[in-house]
Symmetry: C2
Subunit: 339 residues, 2 copies
Amino acid sequence: MLTIAVDAMGGDNAPDCVVEGTIQTLRDTGNRLEVLLIGQNDKVEPLLDRHDIQGLNLRFMHAPEVITMNDIPAIAVKTKQNSSLVRGLMLCKEKKADGFVSAGNTGALMAASLFILGRIPGVLRPTIAAYFPRLAPGLTNVVDVGANVDCKPEHLVQFAEMLTIYQRDAAGMDTPLTGLLNIGEEENKGPDYLKQTYNLLREANSKKKINFIGNIEGNDILSSKASIIVCDGLVGNTLLKFGESIPHFLSSIFKPSIEKLVASGQLDLKAAELTGKTFKAMFQPFDVEKFGGVPFLGVDGISIVGHGRSSEKAIMNMIFMAEHMIEKKVNQHIAEALA
Amino acid sequence: MLTIAVDAMGGDNAPDCVVEGTIQTLRDTGNRLEVLLIGQNDKVEPLLDRHDIQGLNLRFMHAPEVITMNDIPAIAVKTKQNSSLVRGLMLCKEKKADGFVSAGNTGALMAASLFILGRIPGVLRPTIAAYFPRLAPGLTNVVDVGANVDCKPEHLVQFAEMLTIYQRDAAGMDTPLTGLLNIGEEENKGPDYLKQTYNLLREANSKKKINFIGNIEGNDILSSKASIIVCDGLVGNTLLKFGESIPHFLSSIFKPSIEKLVASGQLDLKAAELTGKTFKAMFQPFDVEKFGGVPFLGVDGISIVGHGRSSEKAIMNMIFMAEHMIEKKVNQHIAEALA
């Protein structure tokens, strides 16, 4: 049976959501997994007491310290060795857990994962890929989204190779398609490092390590043209945060307009309610919850990074993602491909 | 009286929209300006014949060649010397026109502007800044959006300085605020070139050349925090195209949902129509028409770059933008600031 360590203290809604999500996962899966919940006992135990957890494969482990969202990653990892985040990863290192899940401080999780788990042999730089909305079936990952800035061509090509394995093995996609994000479609476009990346991606394509469709532009991101969109972490991070800000921006225009129509008697309440629901549902492709989190790909272990806003549903899906990556041997395949 | 040269052949809707927009401008402004329309006589003259243009300060000039959207900029500029685009800029160079407006091939317009008009003394690289949506009064320019990739810190700082002058003089903003687009707010974040840019922007701030508010992130772009958002052309170009793709992406989810509600009798037609209008209006801040185009800032002349999709309203606003930049002596102030 797999054991997933879960950071009870990570995220804006921790530990409540984490505890709820964990218990729900174990109930839903009929104890298929074991979860090791790590956190401060005075915070977590009262929450566990509210549930009938007898018979669930749930163990709790006290960790007196907490790495907060405001902690500086490199410093926190060194000074808070007794935090849930560091202890969880140590359990993976010591083979007492098969994977670790946290919605806490992303920078600290990356730094600690890299430090404690190390890299898969052959991996130059572990990376984080975000899920972007799409309408067609399948999924779109933009990689990198902030773990690496100043990426070199060889880093970007490895990101494409790792994501191809991830999408194929963990997400069951037959033919992941890689696009290189650039200012134009022609192969001679963009800065030098992207021209070199283009050539390396074409080589990887001819070795059948990836399926390279060429350069794509910003307006192709949502188009489902590519399932893997490769870019430097500065570009990906900016796109991710820009995209996340759009639902709120548009709502703040749409909602008052609808309210005005109701106030003036042009729209009845029932219609306004239906419209509001439809509007909200429109942003479902932007919903990060259904994926839960993203793996920190390339580290020698399973480290799943969640959004700070993670709900219990997100926590559940992060646990499943860890399970799936282990079962599908994603890391083993990455090691073989990059050897 | 100012004379603005207008590329009749530039844009997806040319020459029709350009001719209409030009005539409307002259009518609306009571002949305040003179417009020199440049294009193929067999295409443009029949359109002019449809209007009573007597008394309007409108001159037409035949140019036998056309640079299309598919032309490779550097080659087109050299081989199509008798195109409306090259001739229009030549008229500016020869002081027969005070500014040039085109919704044609952006790359060709930039290359020709740089080649024919040259740079304002002191300017390292001319740049293009796009308008981004905001809710608060004022405007948001992201700079650069594709004219320059591989920007060096000194380029980015000049972009901020030029945009500060543009927003203050041409857009009447008292205090343009510059933010540096980065992966985090802390000054030590991001790649080295952005750390250096941060320091140079702070210097420019202390010399009162700009008002620097520090690093901003992708989720701040629409927040009206900064009116000038500085980034490399690869980042800006990607953001611009990504943003432009969003209305269509969301419509393709929202519209069918509303139609389904109508079909099932849950929403009546009138309510659906109102909802549709409200939805469409929500994207007004994304509307590029109200600005028309953007100046190619830093070239030694007035060259206004329009969107390929430019409507007649956009053409009108581009002509006004050229007029305004000349009257407010934007280029002269840039030359003084960067001397």
